[in-house]
Point group: C2
């Protein structure tokens, strides 16, 4: 069974609430929005990602007979819920920001409008899908902004948090602008370009490093990359120079070499020199090994002669910010706006739209968070993507999402592009939205006062 | 298709190297070990976890006709590799530490002994499986040590990094000693006890909080938990007191209440008081909301009258340490010990065993990392679990792993149990292992000198 597609990939309380909603006939239309409450210093913006997988999930959500039998066997649920789940289809509407759009705190990137039990059930997995991909896309964007013009590749499957994390990190980083990934499955599933070199174990399996290089070159002549740092990086670079004419005689061209440890700037300069002196000026230098946006920026600043980078663990675990405070909150039920008022967790009620203004220079100037019906200056970012449980368009090609993400990064205000930790971006709250929030609060206060009097 | 079981969930360079190994007949027995190079301050020990899924992966690793066709379509691979993959079976041996064992830097928890192309292919996914579960088990252990005697539950599926991360975090935290999880699929797949309450959205869907409590209580009377912090926590506690007699008349007992925001210590004391005054001294208080081992320790220290905790995002993303520096390194090939000597990344060669000594008080005194054939004082931790691709035992029950983990936490030296960041644990390197490492270095130096002379 594919766990990732299981309808049981949800929190128990969703099923508990569904039972209670069904028992009490509370099955009217609910509106939930997914948004980030606050952004940390090291994520002054995020890139929307994961919508494709979210829509897949909603379209294909079914309970198998085995799922129903197991739920029944727990003794927790009544026949009315089991019957409801047996015939379950998601029949709601979805509005969303397209993937590759930059977004900020309080801005919804997805809205679900559906009968309450449906909208509630899908909370857990929708957050699970959108949070991770948006987080990795933002991390990838930071790497791209830190190393402009460099070829960046996702090397992080091994320390990603499981199978889906590795696969979806490849997708999220590619849509943000990475050149490709080492994860083979991402090539098969999403057509993402694959990159791969060789590991130290290959060199170590041979008694002689030069023999290992030659064996690898003859087996993998296309786009050949040789790994230099197993024993002594500079000595290995000289072996590459010595080997090149022999390979050339066999029609094999060395495309690049890889450094994976040590002082990358110093080694790259030295290796560049050895290669250039040896007539290998066309051989590129590729580096990897514990890199993130900070080390990339430092290498660029020091003019390290490195053409491309593999970014691994820091990317796929979003290591400095492995999670953000994102939620999926009830905004309206049965036609009435709703709002949570817990300490420090209050939310903006109602169905919302985000309007984005660009300046004369094409850069983003500010957003307005408004109620759906109140037009504001700028471009509206949320659009309907699913109606009555059916997608309105086929899946968007990754190439189109990459174009959007590229434009999004170009349009970011300069402090955000510089990854300045204090950078802020203006998200205004429309006055109608503030009024609605106040009205919801007044309504709740009246109700709470009434319920006190009744007692 | 189940992505988590795909043989393409690997790095491209593994396939590149397999091609080269096959072309050059380098298919002799290789020995790889998985271990952590260094531990960060906030993880002075880890708990081994994920072996069960690692063995599943090795036993079931097959390339489908569709996988082979796709690989062929990339134009990257020759017929000899495609034929090899078509018939692929993992036929190697595996030695491992049992799940639930505490381990430290440099100590292998898994060894693969198999023909080189097989041992190489499985590197990526084995690391992917073992790293994440061991990381979460260690995080769960820290929470358990910080809040002794409290009921801890995994609430973290929504912000885990994808489907598998959520599911396996439930498993890893349960084997470490958590009482259960909110993730329904973990109940179905692993029999882990499920916990679930209600969300704020449920309260908000009703016009009146007390009406929401009663509706939920009647629909979910067993193990009833009511959520207090949607509007005003203390007012909600008084509503619970007012509601209790009415529910009792219907045979419904309130088991607990949940706090999810605000100053948990102050609110818990106040709510405890309201409940006790209202004759609800048996109603437990459960808390959640951004908790980790530090906040748990602080709540315990302040004597917050809280009986159980839901730990979410910090657990399932291992938020303070979302990855550790773990590797799967070649230790021997064709009967000869091997070693990588890259700067700061040198490894201990050969097939190793870990010996653990307990003191008179039953606490761990120190480990010795030794070559497999050199018996040392204490208990050996690595044992063969798979031979010729076949498991030697059926899957170990989670209950047995939980027992082992419980003993492991009891046996930790006191500074480790206190989560002291400076705590160290003695891992000695056996003299025979040091000698082997020196011998490998001498052999490599001779070879490198010879290869220089040849040029």
């Amino acid at each position: 069974m594919d766990s990732a597609a299981s309808p049981l990939l949800t929190d128990l309380y969703q099923l508990n609430m569904m039972q209670a909603y069904l028992d009490h006939g509370e099955t009217q239309i609910a509106v939930f929005e997914f948004f980030v409450r606050t952004l940390p210093e090291r994520r002054r913006f995020l890139l929307a990602a994961g919508l494709e997988q979210a829509l897949d999930y909603l379209e294909n959500l079914r309970f198998s007979a085995a799922d129903i039998d197991w739920l029944k066997s727990t003794g927790r649920f009544k026949p009315n819920l089991l019957d409801y789940l047996r015939d379950f289809r998601f029949t709601g509407d979805v509005h969303a920001m397209p993937e590759g759009t930059a977004f900020f705190a309080s801005e919804p990137i997805l809205r679900v409008t559906a009968p309450m039990p449906q909208a509630q059930l899908v909370e857990t997995r929708l957050i699970n899908i959108l949070h991770f991909q948006s987080l990795v896309a933002a991390k990838a964007a930071r790497c791209l902004l830190a190393a402009p013009g460099k070829l960046l590749v996702d090397f992080g499957l091994r320390r990603a948090h499981g199978a889906e994390a590795g696969l979806m990190a490849a997708r999220a980083s590619y849509l943000a602008g990475f050149a490709g990934t080492a994860t083979v499955l991402a090539g098969e599933k999403f057509g993402i370009p694959l990159y791969g070199t060789m590991a130290h174990s290959f060199i170590e399996a041979f008694d002689d490093e030069a023999a290992a290089f030659e064996a690898f070159a003859r087996a993998r002549p296309d786009g050949l990359t040789l790994l230099l740092d197993t024993y002594d990086t500079e000595a290995a670079a000289r072996k590459v120079v010595a080997l090149a004419p022999k390979l050339k005689a066999s029609g094999i061209t060395i495309r690049s070499v890889r450094l994976d440890s040590g002082d990358l700037t110093a080694l790259a300069k030295s290796v560049r020199n050895i290669l250039d002196q040896g007539g290998l000026g066309d051989v590129a230098i590729f580096a990897s090994g514990g890199l993130d946006e900070d080390s990339l920026a430092a290498l660029v600043q020091k003019n390290a002669p490195i053409d491309g980078y593999g970014v691994g663990t820091s990317l796929t675990t979003s290591a400095d910010v492995p999670n953000v405070d994102c939620v999926y909150k009830l905004q309206e039920y049965a036609g009435v706006a709703r709002r949570k008022r817990s300490e420090k967790k209050a939310t903006w009620p109602g169905r919302k739209q985000v309007w984005r203004r660009l300046g004369a220079d094409g850069r983003m100037e500010g957003d307005i968070l408004a109620l759906e019906d109140n037009a504001k200056p700028g471009e509206p970012l949320m659009a309907m993507v699913m109606q009555n449980g059916q997608r309105l368009q086929p899946a968007e090609p990754l190439a189109a999402i990459r174009e959007r993400a590229k434009r999004a990064l170009e349009r970011l205000p300069e402090p955000l592009r510089r990854l300045a930790p204090e950078a802020t971006y203006l998200v205004e709250i429309a006055p109608e939205l503030e009024e609605l929030a106040a009205a919801v609060d007044r309504r709740m206060q009246v109700q709470m006062a009434q319920s006190k009097e009744e007692r």
